[in-house]
């Protein structure tokens, strides 16, 4: 992984949902070197007034145009500052950082499960999968219709299913409720969103083999051989991969501010060993 400090120029921006922005930056190096699941860090400018670099998922990256997009909700300083930028303004982004999603080459049916802004962590995977001719179903959960990701921003090929907690759009309930209907169909699943949601999806996935009694891609190849934690193979062979988004410090692996508890009892650094993990690599109870 080569980490570059890329000067990125804002070329376009839209408020796609109330308080949520989609910004396009011209950053050719980043656009060509990134994979789905990776992230960038915003290097705070002199006036940003923050201590940490904020991580953002690489929402989309287009090597042809050199455009990388970020999707974020305006919250505090870093995002408020970002939202105040105007086309032509330049920022520094460090990246691509972290380990990407690994799709099994034989996988035909991909299930993507996004909670709220977690969509930003999965959006590029949808692009990659569609381009590779895979079938993609995206389950999306939000509090209410006002926070539902616009389907117009997704590739046409993606099957898009929405749940809202207040029932104002789609299924009345949580996105996790939708998942069981697709577990038999899917070869692999990928999730990004609040930790509690990821944990719920992980619990579902863990019980899947027992419920379905079917072979999975994962079982076909290499049961018995244990792949090292954090290895591409471990992720590629997993039924469920999750992208974990939480407060980062250094994003260089030094500060240990970002750890999640690993299933083996060793803390894992989300910034380095992640942000994408095989769900089975995480101790979901101790998180």
């Amino acid at each position: 992984m080569t980490t570059v400090l890329a000067a990125a120029e804002l070329v376009d921006r839209r408020e796609i949902l109330p308080g949520q922005w989609l910004q396009s930056y011209h950053a050719p190096g980043l656009a060509s070197g990134s994979r789905a699941g990776q992230y960038v860090q915003l290097v705070p400018g002199a006036t940003a007034g923050t201590i940490l670099r904020s991580p953002f998922a690489i929402n989309t990256a287009d090597a042809a145009t050199g455009i990388v997009t970020l999707h974020f909700r305006v919250s505090r300083q870093p995002t408020a500052w970002l939202a105040g930028l105007r086309p032509g303004d330049r920022i520094d982004l460090a990246g691509p950082l972290g380990r990407p999603f690994e799709v099994d080459p034989r996988g035909r049916h991909l299930l993507l499960v996004a909670g709220g802004l977690g969509i930003a962590g999965l959006r590029m995977l949808a692009d990659e999968a569609v381009r590779a001719g895979r079938q993609v179903t995206l389950l999306f959960g939000a509090r209410s219709a006002r926070e539902v990701y616009p389907s117009s921003l997704l590739p046409d090929e993606v099957e898009y299913i929405v749940a809202t907690e207040d029932g104002s759009l789609g299924h009345h309930g949580r996105v996790v409720d939708l998942a069981p209907d697709y577990e038999a169909w899917a070869d692999q699943a990928f999730a990004c969103g609040p930790k509690a949601m990821l944990a719920a999806v992980a619990v579902l996935a863990a019980g899947r083999r027992g419920r379905l009694g079917v072979a999975t891609l994962g079982r076909k190849r290499g049961a018995g051989k244990i792949d090292p934690v954090g290895s591409p193979a471990a992720r590629r062979k997993a039924f469920l991969q999750v992208a974990i988004e939480q407060d980062f410090g250094c994003a260089a692996g030094t500060c240990l501010g970002c750890v999640v508890m690993g299933a083996s009892g060793t803390p894992l650094r989300a910034c380095r060993e992640g942000p994408v993990f095989a769900a089975t690599e995480i101790d979901w109870e101790r998180g």
Binding site: G249, T254, V259
Partner: protein, 332 residues
């Protein structure tokens, strides 16, 4: 418009000719006065690709305990206004693993590595020091006294002159390594504590460690306190506190003082030198800018050079309380 500005500009000195070396005592000379403070810089190795490590004055590695520690559950960080509250909980693989994994690499660096040591009893502090003693690559020990002393009901070593002196003296006997004692700002009076560790054999004092603080983390299920209930506040927010503590320490001991707390710019370095520190540690600021410490070395040399100084030592202890007359007025 200041008097000094009327004087003819002194002859410039090339930055590379400015003497930046710092004598910490017991044979340890830092190549320059800018250190990576313990914690944010990890073991240094993580930044080897990003940063010219050999340009640093020194690297204090993260806190090392006798046995491995898993640290606190998350969230471990909350950003606060101009600050950072952390509750890492001293996650580390233990002293033996630290030596096994990193010492050889450290030995190949020109920047001296200071191993930051944390323990909950005098005995453990001594044992860790013994294991570090004589290990090539370990240039010095920094005692992190912001640790609860289980033999004294859990009050911090750093909170009490006699506990601080006891552990300092005990480690002093156990090793010939240069010994830096790191003090906590969370005390009513730092001066007696600084005097006690100096008398007990510390070669240098470093300060400040993080300031005790709390933040509310919004987690599922309602508000909750960060990590271990109390976290450590660092970053620019604490600089005025660090500047106060450092000036108090400088006024009470003769050994060198390494100033830490909120450094993000050359102006901060100059401020700490002005109150009497001989060296400065950079902590939280490396998160946003890992290259900062090296740039500070360069700009310090340039500043000295521009002012015609052949050594940075002329910048040390130049601040004093203003000479303006004290106000009259009845005392309260």
């Amino acid at each position: 418009m200041q008097a000094a500005e009327l004087l003819p500009a002194p002859a410039q000195v090339p930055p590379e000719s400015v003497d930046l070396s710092v004598d910490i005592g017991r044979g340890l000379t830092l190549p320059n006065p800018i250190l990576a403070a313990s914690g944010p810089f990890g073991y240094g190795v993580e930044y080897a690709e990003l940063v010219d490590l050999h340009r640093l004055g020194g690297i204090c590695c993260r806190g090392t305990t006798l046995k491995p520690r898993l640290g606190n559950p998350g969230p471990r960080f909350v950003e606060t206004p101009a600050g950072l509250l952390h509750a890492i909980g001293l996650q580390n693989p233990g002293v033996d693993a630290v030596i096994a994994r990193y010492a050889e690499t450290w030995a190949s660096w020109t920047a001296p590595v200071v191993v930051n040591v944390a323990a909950r009893s005098v005995r453990d502090f001594v044992e860790i020091a013994r294991r570090l003693d004589g290990v090539p690559g370990v240039a010095a020990i920094e005692l992190n006294l912001s640790c609860p002393n289980v033999d004294a009901g859990g009050s911090l070593f750093a909170a009490d002159s006699s506990a601080a002196a006891e552990v300092t003296a005990a480690v002093r006997r156990a090793t010939d390594l240069p010994l830096v004692v790191k003090l906590s700002p969370n005390v009513t009076e730092i001066r007696p504590i600084a005097r006690a560790v100096a008398a007990a054999g510390a070669d240098a004092v470093s300060a400040i460690n993080a300031v005790a603080g709390v933040a509310i983390a919004q987690v599922a299920g309602g508000p909750s306190l960060l990590g271990d209930a109390t976290g450590g506040l660092s970053g620019p927010a604490v600089k005025p506190i660090a500047l106060r503590i450092v000036s108090e320490i400088v006024a009470s001991v003769k050994i060198p003082v390494i100033a830490i707390g909120g450094v993000t710019s050359l102006a901060d370095v100059l401020d700490f030198l002005a109150v009497g520190a001989v060296a400065v540690g950079v902590g939280s600021a490396v998160f946003a800018d890992p290259g900062l410490p090296v740039r500070l070395v360069e700009s310090l040399a340039e500043t000295c050079g521009t002012q015609g100084m052949t050594s940075y030592r002329g910048l040390i202890r130049t601040a004093g309380a203003r000479a303006l007359p004290r106000p009259r007025g009845a005392s309260a």
